[in-house]
Amino acid sequence: QTIRVAAAANLQAVIKVLQADFKKRTGISVDAVTGSSGNLVAQINNGAPYDVFLSADMEFPQKLKQSGQSVKDPVVYAMGSLVICSKENINLKNWQKLIVTDAVGKIAIANPKIAPYGRAAEESLQKAGLLEQVRAKAVYGESISQVNTYITTGVVTVGFTTQSLVKDPANATKLYWQAISPKTYAPIEQGMVVLKHATDAGNVAAANRFYQYMLSGAAKSILKKYGYIVP
């Protein structure tokens, strides 16, 4: 049996591990379709054959509930943690001071209009009173993966991204990073729902098992390893 899971782009690395672990435990295969949360929601609203949706925030799953694509309320399966990160060997302890100096050129931020990590980064900068000063140096990535590309290819000096980047064992680039204090931004709650399609396609039992699995200790320890904060 196979179910299809639509997963937000920031889960791209960890979803492979979760897939394998879930298969080992239940024998159920998972096809993961990754993309930006906004894209995935537009597709689901227009008949995409996905059984479970793992979003990057809570807003999108809520919208799906409203449009009748899911029966139950979304639950939080993980919380993202924001880091500032660089390919250059610079000391990011005092990143607030550092990023306004000439030592830092371009700064990558996810587009706050559509990516939760971008929203968190701007919030944090706002709290530190740096947002306006940093604007001139900012470049915007469409998704968190694009920000990661900017960081790992070194076209920006620093970038605000998810901790899962630096925890990803597949990532060969040596990175220097510093976690941003979670007090400076609203928690990045990532929500999950089982979709109506699962019922229509007769996958509802398997989908529910995956849903349960995501909230189990096994999944949580994997998520944790990848830098997510688990509830």
Partner: protein
């Protein structure tokens, strides 16, 4: 590296190019004959999908063909045809997206032909259709090849539309362009490089073969 997306892409590009040839040749011929404001409007409409970012075009196509809405629902009910998250959906989207690249060069090449060629054929009793196939088309072969290569390559590389309306389903809609995109996004640059090189190689061979076939059979012995 997974071969399925490459094969899927080649299939998509081949089917799209073949269908666009069937649609594009008569359409380009009809447009080349000139005419009123109606044709101008149609030509502009054909070009318009080009200016929307592919993913946005894909979004509108998704809305149009969604079984939730009018047209898509009707197609679903009456013909059991679904153009979202299916291979035929990718083909349809690719056709809409690449149409101007097929039509444009063929139409302008046809306009460049002297009208006496067609006239000579008509006096032999040949229909417009026979004339088009046997006289006009062979004399704009270079332009037809160019249009085909551009369409094929463009479909291989098409990404935004396909992602939106196809949804990245392995073996059904996960084409090579999406696979290589995924690899880059996942920072798996090795796989991305492999895919890219392969696409590169396929195009290279294809384009080179076309150009060699397309060279004049022989050079004039006098020059």
């Amino acid at each position: 590296m997974d071969w399925l997306p490459i094969l899927l892409s080649l299939k998509l590009a081949a089917v799209t190019t073949a269908l666009l040839l069937v649609i594009g040749l008569p359409l380009a011929y009809w447009l080349s004959k000139g005419g009123g404001i109606f044709k101008v409007i149609l030509e502009a409409l054909i070009t318009v999908p080009l200016v929307l970012p592919p993913s946005v075009l894909g979004f509108y196509l998704l809305l149009a063909f969604s079984p939730q809405h009018g047209l898509g629902g009707w197609l679903q009910r009456v013909f059991h045809l679904s153009f979202v998250f299916s291979f035929q959906g990718l083909v349809l989207a690719s056709i809409i997206y690449s149409l101007p690249f097929m039509i444009g060069p063929i139409k302008s090449a046809l306009q460049q032909l002297p009208s006496s060629l067609a006239q000579a054929s008509y006096t032999l009793g040949k229909t417009e259709r026979q004339t088009f196939i046997h006289v006009l088309l062979p004399n704009i072969r270079a332009s037809v090849f160019t249009a085909m290569i551009m369409t094929f390559a463009h479909t291989l590389g098409e990404f935004g539309v396909v992602l939106m309306i196809g949804g990245n389903i392995p073996g059904v809609t996960k084409v090579a362009s999406i696979a290589v995109y995924d690899s880059v996004e996942g920072m798996d640059y090795r796989t991305a490089n492999h895919y890219s090189l392969l696409l590169f190689g396929i195009t290279f061979i294809m384009v080179a073969t076309m150009f060699i076939i397309n060279r004049r059979n022989a050079k004039s012995p006098l020059e």
